[in-house]
């Protein structure tokens, strides 16, 4: 493995991903790092945020004392609405997801495999409480799936792998991965680096990825 390398912070990862979301997209942001994307949507774009518990047009967090405990996002945090918002029930919400009406689902990951397999709902550990929420619906229904994740675990184990060791959320579902070290497309040929932050080299990323990596950055 190559030497120490300083990649992006989680806010910087979210900002990098936000840059790639086209104006007018309908997007579901998963709990955790993906939620941060909402902070970095460029001013000149209108992105409609979907929360699977029943709202299109999610706005920012309420001012202290202004929130409603019955207006919450999938992470059960209080939110607000934007002009053009609409509420709906769960079956309608997942009709949007399953029916392919959302443009983009952004999720966290335990592991992503070179064939696009995603594992993010269960460590499969004995005694853990299994809990899946809407993750399997999202990855099987939404037009495109992006993953936001640290490139490696805290222990330094690569999260981008040849084959997932954790139980799958969905097979062959991931289109693109944003990490602290790279932007990586999942293609028919496996992982392809399409962008690197300043100070990170292709070899740095390859050394921290447990699957073959192609350099597909524009010349």
């Amino acid at each position: 493995m190559s030497g120490a390398v300083t990649g992006l912070t989680k806010h910087q990862i979210a900002r990098r991903a936000a840059r790639d979301i086209p104006d007018g997209s309908y997007v579901n942001l998963g709990i955790g790092m993906p939620e941060l994307i909402a902070l970095f949507i460029p001013d000149d774009r209108e992105i409609v945020l979907h929360i699977e518990n029943g709202l299109l047009g999610m706005g920012p967090s309420p001012e202290p004392g202004e929130g409603d405990p019955e207006l919450i996002n999938a992470g059960k945090k209080q939110v607000t609405t934007r002009p053009g918002a609409a509420y709906f029930h769960q079956a309608d919400s997942f009709a949007m997801i399953r029916g392919g009406h959302l443009d983009l689902s952004v999720l966290g990951a335990l592991e992503v495999a070179a064939n696009g397999d995603l594992a993010n709902w269960s460590t499969g550990r004995e005694g853990a409480i299994p809990a899946v929420g809407g993750a399997m619906d999202l990855v099987s229904g939404v037009k495109a799936v992006y993953v936001l994740t640290r490139h490696c675990t805290r222990q330094g184990t690569p999260k981008l792998v040849e084959r997932c060791s954790y139980p799958l959320t969905g097979p062959g579902v991931v289109d693109r991965i944003y990490t602290d070290l790279a932007v990586i497309d999942v293609t028919a040929n496996g992982f392809e680096v399409v962008d690197l932050p300043p100070g990170v080299g292709f070899d740095d990323v390859a050394a921290r990825t447990a699957a073959p990596l192609r350099d597909a950055r524009p010349a």
Partner: protein
């Protein structure tokens, strides 16, 4: 910015191609997007498969589209009308195909298509002639039929109010098939009597969220089919 408004019915339907499947909202005249249908007649795309509960009345709207020879097949629950021979004449001449579907099964197939459900079982029509060619299976002691979700290249619908993002509310029983067709159309076009800025509709009362809508056309005073038929109008 999200602004789904287009200038005219003509522009809204310009992308419809020969052989496309087109869902058309309405139960009888209530909810029938007559100006969009007339624009489709002007546009001229042919060989269409139309999914609609009825087959039109008089010689305007859906009946006129059929008379124009643009419809190869209709998927429908009730293709009879007291005041139109357009569909019967073509049907008897073998020039239009009919897929007859019970009304509730039709609605559910459209919803399923829009909701990403490829197929479901229903007891409706089991034990009748309309089960012909369908897979049968018993659940909890009741015989059911396997029905497939329906999607379409286009959905043409009518609303009372739309905002620029495509959030919709309807008028009374004109709502009928429009919300599910909006879900099942790859491209959904709505004609609305009133078009307003986002924020003008109560988020609690939106019936069709804008995510299901692609083009919004302002048609301030839509024709009522029954009035056109009563005065013997023909389109074009």
């Amino acid at each position: 910015m999200i602004d789904k408004r287009v200038g005219s019915p003509r522009e809204a339907v310009a992308g419809i191609g020969d052989g496309d499947t087109v869902m058309i909202g309405g139960f009888g005249e209530a909810g029938s997007p007559i100006e969009l249908i007339h624009a489709l007649i002007d546009h001229g795309a042919g060989g269409l498969t139309v999914v609609s509960n009825n087959s039109g009345s008089g010689e305007v709207g859906l009946a006129a589209l059929i008379r124009a020879g643009q419809v190869e097949k209709i998927v429908c629950s009730f293709p009879r009308s007291a005041n139109s021979m357009v569909f019967p004449d073509l049907y008897h001449a073998g020039r239009i195909e009919l897929e007859l579907v019970p009304q509730g099964t039709l609605a559910e197939r459209i919803r399923a298509g829009g909701a990403g459900i490829p197929a479901f079982y229903t007891p409706t029509a089991a034990g009748t002639d309309l089960e012909a060619g369908k897979e049968r299976r018993e659940f909890d002691g009741r015989m059911c039929l396997l029905e497939r979700g329906l999607v379409a290249d286009w959905a043409l619908i009518k609303a009372r109010v739309a905002d620029w993002q495509g959030n919709l509310v309807y008028n009374k029983t004109a709502r009928n098939f429009s919300p599910v067709m909006a879900m099942a159309g790859r491209t959904t076009v709505v004609q609305a009597s009133s078009v307003i800025e986002p924020g003008g509709l109560d988020p609690e009362a939106v019936i069709t969220p804008g995510i299901f809508v692609d083009h919004v056309v302002h048609v301030p005073k839509p024709h009522h089919e029954s009035e056109l038929v009563a005065r013997g109008a023909r389109y074009p």
